[in-house]
């Protein structure tokens, strides 16, 4: 236990103080991309790693998070730190609806259904021009400064606030994975991954358990999607709903180690460094 705390705590403390030494915007940009990759990989790991349900349509939730917060900011002038939670709730509700239908399928049929759902949502975003601006996308303008009372926390002009928000998001996703793994839900999911019929015969409610995992996974993915969208400052359907976004999440978990908490972290480091080299 002590060794585990040290293994996770020391790098975290180092990352907290890193912007004091590293001031290069490019280096901070790499770290922010790394945090996004870790957060999405860890989010996917809840349903793909622990439950063994290989969803290749997670871009749907990533995009819903991005579009939800962006549309609320542009059309309703809702500040992102409130709009993000609405977007997360929308993604969770959509996940519940999708899960109730697609979890009737197993194995490769579930994979195909998850891809199909993500494509349906991408095409809807592409053609619903009044809401999403279609293929032209949405550019984030006038991001309001973050204030606590009258005190200005940040006006988003440097990468440092994004660095800390990304770090908090990655740590949150890792925490969610730890929490899921150590609770009854985690054991249920692992039982389902190993043998669905045996788990069912022992009284584990398959659809409910898988749906809970999908909602948790979708909510974390939407959070990462919202953050990534505000960091980049522009979204369009292919960029956030594309199949490559889903594949990237799956690869982060597969390369690092599927069904482990530290796997997506290692996978994220490898893939981000490789793609930015």
């Amino acid at each position: 236990m002590k060794a585990t705390l040290l293994a996770w705590g020391l790098p975290l403390v180092a990352l907290l103080f890193l912007p004091l030494w590293i001031t290069s915007p490019y280096a901070l940009h790499i770290f922010i991309l790394l945090f996004i990759a870790i957060a999405t990989g860890e989010s996917w790991n809840v349903i793909g790693g622990f439950a063994g349900q290989y969803s290749v349509g997670h871009a749907a939730f990533y995009g819903l998070g991005a579009y939800g917060a962006f549309i609320l900011l542009q059309d309703r002038h809702v500040a992102p730190w409130f709009g993000v939670w609405v977007a997360v709730a929308i993604a969770a509700a959509v996940a519940l609806a999708i899960g109730s239908i697609t979890f009737r399928l197993r194995g490769p049929y579930f994979v195909l259904a998850s891809i199909a759902v993500a494509e349906i949502i991408r095409l809807a975003a592409l053609n619903w021009k009044d809401l999403t601006n279609g293929a032209e996308g949405i550019l984030a303008s006038d991001l309001p400064p973050l204030q606590l009372g009258n005190r200005l926390i940040t006006d988003w002009n440097s990468k440092i606030p994004y660095y800390y928000m990304g770090l908090a998001m990655a740590v949150f996703s890792i925490g969610v994975n730890f929490a899921v793994k150590k609770t009854k839900l985690g054991y249920y999911l692992q039982a389902i991954r190993e043998d669905q019929d045996a788990a069912h015969s022992l009284g584990i409610p398959l659809t409910v358990t898988k749906n809970i995992a999908l909602v948790i996974s979708a909510a974390c993915t939407a959070l990462a999607g919202s953050f990534a969208a505000f960091y980049i400052g522009f979204i369009e359907p292919q960029q956030v709903f594309g199949l490559d976004v889903s594949v990237q999440m799956v690869l982060v978990a597969i390369i690092g180690g599927i069904g482990t908490v530290s796997g997506p972290l290692i996978g994220g480091v490898v893939l981000v460094l490789l793609s930015e080299s």
Partner: protein, 47 residues
Amino acid sequence: MGAFLKENLAHAHVLIYGVLVIVVILYMPEGFVGFAAARLRRKAAAK
């Protein structure tokens, strides 16, 4: 050297990415973490 790599192997990282994915899927089906854990377990058992 840098110029040569930029001119001729500008997209080499995509190739490395693909090779890495194939190698991991074929030889490390449980990923880097699973592979390292199995190696450590084997080492401990040998002792």
